[in-house]
């Protein structure tokens, strides 16, 4: 590790004061402050648009600040590029693994500063150094293998190892856990704790509340580009934190019972029987009825998304039968699913949801138009449909001709919902529809799910936030290791029970 000025636990290492960042027409940050202390994990919290990522970008030299001071070990700094920040000792690990999948693990750790011998790269020493460094962080991998032979979580850890090795004591973790399951998060946290104990000053950004409390010592809250306050994690109850983040008295959602007893029809709209796909799903069966919200719970990679993709025909099952209505489907594909009145809001909004350069109107019309075939829906009709859903879902945009890529995450999600609602589906599959969007929009989407099911739509709801599922689902199938391992109905439905079934216990 690099030479660092000697610091004691609790010393302020990096301090930002009166930070402002103006973009044309927008004050992204206005008089914001932040102190990072050695030996502490500091969580930066805020809703979308609060200014978290802008603040990090100012800190790491991606943006130049409009005004304010940043001091590192008491010295004023003003990095102009991420590289400069890095040279000063501020390292960042991003949400998406920013390493090269085609290079070896050792190379990913050392590229750009490889050990040289006689003017050429000393592979032998580089590999040895990499083993030593990774072992010290309790990461055991073959450093000569390419990075893409390892899972995302291991890649994320290797990214941290690289950052730590170059750091002079400040480590920024920008949503590093977004694509990890609980088990992997636990491993990652072990490493973070280890680094904290070595007196690193760590800034941790995440959307997951429970993770904030699991790992951080101190919390800074931002709202609308302004500084709200800095708190010790142990002195700030979760409800207070949420209140500070959204800036209004927060009604605990658990008290809003959305789930009245419903008399959905007994007709099973879609059935999957003994569906298998090698390496993804084994012998999965389920049926969903009109007017029912069926939850699929499980850890990442448990098979919950895979089931949805098999049902919608994005991937193809090897074995089993799917019935839509009374018709047996041998091979499903998205087009057929669309024709059969199925809809699927996929897990990854950016990758498999939005078509970034097309307008909001075109994005809303995409599936309905695909259903109608080559014959173009008249523009006037398109505008009517788009406007209807913009109003219905309260999509915030100055015009329906704006590019969807310019919208916020929550509004993009609403457009995708609109896309499927426009096709008038009988079954709507929602895979993580609330991921990475602000709390208000989350609530709106939950309410919408309940409303649609009351109108007779069947809904399959997948989420990694179990309290959300508890609030909205009529029935929850729990998956583990590619199998269905339990089904919760009525008053069995609780977060505790989901966790227990996942962990291999029995619901009460």
């Amino acid at each position: 590790m690099r030479e660092t000025p000697t610091v004691k636990k609790g010393d302020v290492v990096l301090s930002m004061r009166h930070i402002a960042k103006y973009f044309p027409g927008v004050k992204a940050l206005d008089d914001v402050q932040l102190d990072l202390r050695a030996g502490e994990v500091h969580a930066l919290m805020g809703e979308n648009g609060a200014g978290k990522s802008t603040l990090i970008k100012v800190m790491t030299g991606v943006y130049e600040r409009t005004s304010g001071t940043v001091t590192l070990h008491g010295q004023d700094i003003n990095p102009k590029t991420p590289q400069e920040a890095q040279d000063l000792g501020i390292s960042t690990v991003y949400q998406e693994v920013n390493l090269c999948p085609n290079l070896s693990v050792a190379e990913n750790v050392y590229i750009g500063r490889q050990p040289m011998r006689f003017g050429q790269i000393d592979w032998h020493r580089m590999n040895a150094d990499a083993v030593k460094l990774l072992e010290s962080l309790d990461i055991h991998v073959d450093v000569t293998k390419t990075l893409d032979s390892y899972s995302v979580s291991v890649q994320q850890m290797i990214a941290i190892a690289r950052a730590v090795d170059m750091s002079a004591g400040v480590l920024i973790l920008d949503e590093p856990t977004s694509s990890l399951d609980s088990n992997e998060v636990a491993q990652l946290f072990a490493i973070i704790r280890h680094l904290r104990d070595q007196n690193m000053a760590i800034l941790f950004v995440t959307h997951f509340m429970d993770q904030v409390y699991a790992i951080s010592d101190r919390i800074t809250v931002l709202r609308n580009g302004r500084y709200i306050g800095e708190y010790l994690a142990k002195d700030l109850p979760e409800l207070d934190l949420v209140t500070k983040m959204i800036g209004q008295k927060f009604v605990d959602a658990n008290t809003q019972a959305h789930r009245p007893s419903k008399d959905y029809s007994t007709v099973r709209f879609v059935r999957m029987e003994d569906i298998s796909k090698r390496g993804l799903v084994h012998d999965f069966s389920m049926a969903v009825r009109a007017g029912e919200v069926l939850g699929l719970a499980g850890l990442l990679g448990s098979g919950r998304t895979e089931v949805a993709e098999l049902l919608f025909g994005v991937t193809h099952f090897d074995d089993g039968v799917i019935y839509v209505g009374n018709d047996e489907v041998k091979r499903m594909n998205p087009r057929k699913a669309l024709a059969d009145q199925l809809g699927y809001c996929s897990e990854d909004r950016k990758v498999s949801g939005i078509v970034g350069d097309l307008s909001i109107r075109e994005n809303i019309m995409l599936s309905l138009q695909a259903k109608k075939g080559l014959r173009r829906i008249p523009l006037k009709k398109q505008q009517e449909v788009a406007q209807k859903y913009i109003d219905l879902l309260d999509i915030k945009t100055p015009s329906m001709e704006k590019k969807i890529g310019d919208l916020s995450g929550g509004n993009q999600q609403k457009v995708l919902l609109a896309r499927w609602l426009a096709t008038d589906p009988k079954l709507l599959i929602l895979d993580e529809p609330t991921r990475g969007i602000d709390i208000n929009t989350k609530r709106e989407i939950e309410n919408l799910i309940v409303k649609l099911s009351r109108q007779g739509m069947a809904i399959i709801f997948i989420s990694s936030e179990y309290e959300e599922m508890v609030r909205t689902c009529d029935r929850i199938i729990v998956l583990r290791d590619r199998h269905a391992v339990g089904e919760l109905t009525d008053n069995q439905i609780s977060q505790d029970n989901i966790m227990k079934v996942i962990a291999g216990g029995v619901a009460q």
Binding site: P82, L99, E107, G112, S149, V185, D481, A503, G504
Partner: protein, 345 residues
């Protein structure tokens, strides 16, 4: 060193296998095929292509392309021939030619890097420019009669009675060694791979992305002129239509040698093997005697198709293997309830 050269890349191994199979097939089908002379001729006839393919390989590794190389070969032959005709010293001419290539490549690199232009467009324009420049010099072919240049072209290294390699082959082999060294043991080479693997990451990791991106085109331009000089030594004339379509042959050699056109994957050994594979096909068509030389194009194209499909299959299989491995790993590391609770708490 040998251990470092071991073939990790499945696609490359396949290419080597194809070369071996073709060579053996040729030896079985045609008498006199299996001889040192055929092998040496393979090197002599394709020396310029080895250099050309090696140079363009770096641009492909970054995820780019250089379409101008064939035209640069022709331009080099024209510049060399016209300068020699005007009576300039042969060595000076060689130096000027190489410098032209360096400048040409660097300008292309600058346009691509600093203005964010698409490599396809820039090098396409570069191709037009270089071909056009040939005709600006002369529409006719220019023969080379310079004695010094002729002497260089006649240099032969005898490996046995009647068995020799030309200077071009030596240059090509040295160039190949240089490419392998650059790719594996220099920061430039590794950054090239990083760029092709994930450009965004390379930037965030603080690698000299801009410099490397320009340098690969500089190198490609340099190797194209070097190749052009070798071509000129081989044909002893300059002509604007020289090496027509050579850029596509060079790219095909890279593809056959297992270099991914998406960038980041492939060994510098690949283009060399690719060139030899195409060369052996041409030799077989020649030996056959009755086939039109156009069949070479068809065979190389078919082989390219075969390689591409093979590569696609391998990639898919690798993916499946990895998914399986991960699944096994997950099974082993089934979280204990206690761990899970800890993670959640």
């Amino acid at each position: 060193m040998l251990a470092k050269l071991r073939i990790k890349n499945t696609a490359l191994a396949a290419a080597v296998g194809i070369f071996a199979i073709l060579f053996i097939a040729g030896s079985v089908m045609y008498p006199n095929f299996l001889s040192l002379r055929v092998l040496l001729n393979l090197l002599i006839n394709n020396a310029y292509m080895i250099v050309l393919a090696g140079g363009v390989c770096f641009t492909i590794l970054t995820g780019g392309i250089d379409l101008s190389i064939g035209a640069v070969v022709a331009m080099t032959s024209m510049i060399a021939a016209s300068l020699l005709r005007s009576g300039m010293n042969a060595y000076l001419v060689i130096a000027i030619c190489l410098l032209t290539g360096v400048v040409f490549g660097t300008v292309q690199g600058l346009l691509i890097q600093y203005f964010g232009l698409h490599p396809w467009i820039v090098t396409l324009a570069g191709m037009f420019f270089a071909r056009g420049a040939c005709y600006l010099i002369s529409v006719e072919a220019i023969p080379i009669k310079n004695q010094a240049f002729y002497n260089i072209s006649q240099f032969k290294l005898y490996l046995g009675p009647g068995r020799f390699i030309s200077l071009n082959v030596i240059v090509a082999l040295v160039f190949l060694a240089l490419c392998l060294y650059l790719a594996k043991f220099t920061k430039f080479g590794r950054t090239t791979y990083a760029l092709g693997g994930n450009r965004q990451s390379a930037l965030l990791m603080g690698l000299p992305v801009a410099r490397t991106k320009i340098l690969v085109y500089t190198f490609s331009g340099f190797s194209a002129t070097l190749s052009g000089l070798m071509f000129t030594l081989y044909t002893l004339s300059g002509y604007g239509l020289n090496a027509n379509g050579a850029e596509m042959d060079a790219i095909a050699a890279c593809v056959i040698g297992g270099v991914s056109l998406y960038g980041g994957i492939g060994s510098l050994f690949g283009p060399f093997i690719g060139v030899l594979v195409a060369g052996v096909i041409r030799t077989m068509v020649d030996f056959q005697g009755t086939l039109s030389s156009w069949w070479t194009k068809i065979f190389v194209g078919t082989l390219m198709l075969f390689c591409i499909v093979l590569q696609a299959v391998i990639v898919e299989r690798e993916k499946a293997r990895k998914a399986d491995a991960q699944q096994k790993k997950r099974k082993k590391k089934e979280p204990a309830p206690a761990e899970l609770a800890e993670a959640k708490s």
